[in-house]
Amino acid sequence: MGKMIYLDNAATTRTATEVVDAMLPYFTENYGNPSSIYEIAGKSKEAITKGREQIAEVLNAKPEEIYFTAGGSEADNWALKATFEAYAKKGNHIITTKIEHHAILHTCDYLESKGAKITYLNVDENGVVKLDELEAAITPETILISIMFANNEIGTIQPIKEIGMIAKEHDILFHTDAVQAFGQVPIDVDECNIDMLSSSGHKINGPKGIGFLYIRKGVKIRSFIHGGAQERKRRAGTENVPGIVGYGVAAKRAADTMKERTAKEIELRDYMIGRVLKEIPYCRLNGDPVKRLPNNINISFRFVEGESLLIMLDMEGIAASSGSACTSGSLDPSHVLLAIGLPHEIAHGSLRMTISEETTREDLDFTLEVIKKTIDRLRSMSPLYEDFIKKQKK
């Protein structure tokens, strides 16, 4: 196979060379346990401190408010479960949305079985949370609002500042899953009144297996993993030193290049969206056209099924993803696409392409030609298309 065109950067990203270079010495040379007292242990400790500072700076947070975890899912689990425990005296009500990542939704299911009351807010047709519904859902028992910064499937960016204000007015903790947003859009935890924030290293050209939970000073949640004094006694376990080093470098890199990189991505994103919508009939853009992650393209093609489309793209060397049920191993298509009001049949025919700084216009031109050819072919085989055309002729 020739060159691969990688359009699945929301799934994971290529680890940047400078990230790998920065990490390597912490495997074979500076491998000391940061909790020990000898010299190489000191180097590990310094490296962690630096990584923490680099990340805190991106968020306008304090370094001691960054708690490293094994990834975004752990951070989400921690924020929800520990808040539910720590604030049990105040209440048991959590407000979230229908379009969260499963790390939030499945944790909410679990908490419901432990007695939590969960409100799942609706979103509009572009995937934006309805603020009046949020206000109306708040009760004296509400202990937490958890709303994602930006959606992983359709790229919609939520009105985080407004949500933070509502949470603050009602004196309710506000957690945001920023796994897709961190390093892609500017985030200021003070400006947005964010109390907790989850993020993951491998989404921003950092390593896999490392993430963090930002916990604002004063938030009373306790340890999720017991067994040591690491992370200010809130997350036991010997630190993933190379991971933290890599994450720090990746975060700094993402912040430093954000303006230029995302401007280029937005241009390419809108170029591709424009061409697809113009040149392929019976398709629609999913997610907000403007309040959208710079790298996210999500389009539903009527009368075709997503997995078929993905296999055909893969045969041409194009890596993308779909909200089709077949790609998730369940019978239902993406809960996000259903929440924005798509009928099942159209949700099954969705294609998500998430670009990166490496994506070129030529990549997208080639991809578009493959999509066109594939859609034509799949529609010619589709009984739904046959029925549709016959109906049109009547």
Binding site: E305, S308, I311, L331, E345, M381, L384, Y385, E386
Partner: protein, 147 residues
């Protein structure tokens, strides 16, 4: 995740299309689950399937099982076609991933649905064939959106 045979039948599906004035047409599956199969049969006076075509909306396995099912029933009598089970389709494809087994069941059902349609149209009874379920019209109202 798919065998070579599945990939071959997905990439080069046999017997795609429609048959004008088919002896029997069967459509099974539903858009909700993301799989719809339609099979057309051309059956002669001796009850031999002379031609068979299909159209499928679905994943790679759905396309491949439809394609293989049409190959397996072509040239057979209607009673022989009735014996083409989902297992036979799966074996002919060298297997399917567990989550895709329902696709082969759909292929079997599609053949049965087409045979049922043939039997109804010709007012005959095919021993061992029961009325197939079809629920593809579910949610049809919501399909008429503007694009």
């Amino acid at each position: 995740m798919y065998t070579e045979k599945v990939m071959d039948h997905f990439q080069n599906p046999r017997n795609v299309g429609e048959i004008e004035g088919a002896s029997g047409v069967g459509t099974v599956g539903n858009a909700k689950c993301g799989d719809i199969m339609r099979i057309y049969l051309d059956i002669d006076d001796n009850q031999i399937i002379q031609d068979c075509k299909f159209k499928t909306f679905g994943c790679g396995a759905a396309v491949a099982t439809s394609s293989m099912a049409t190959e397996l029933v072509k040239g057979k009598s209607i009673y022989e076609a009735l014996e083409v089970t989902n297992k036979a389709v799966m074996e002919a494809l060298d297997g399917l991933p567990p989550v895709k087994v329902h696709c082969s069941l759909l292929a079997e059902e599609a053949i049965h649905a087409a045979l049922w349609d043939y039997a109804e149209k010709h007012d005959i009874k095919i021993e061992g064939l029961s009325k197939p379920k079809s629920d593809i019209h579910e949610g049809e109202e919501t399909e008429e959106e503007e694009y």
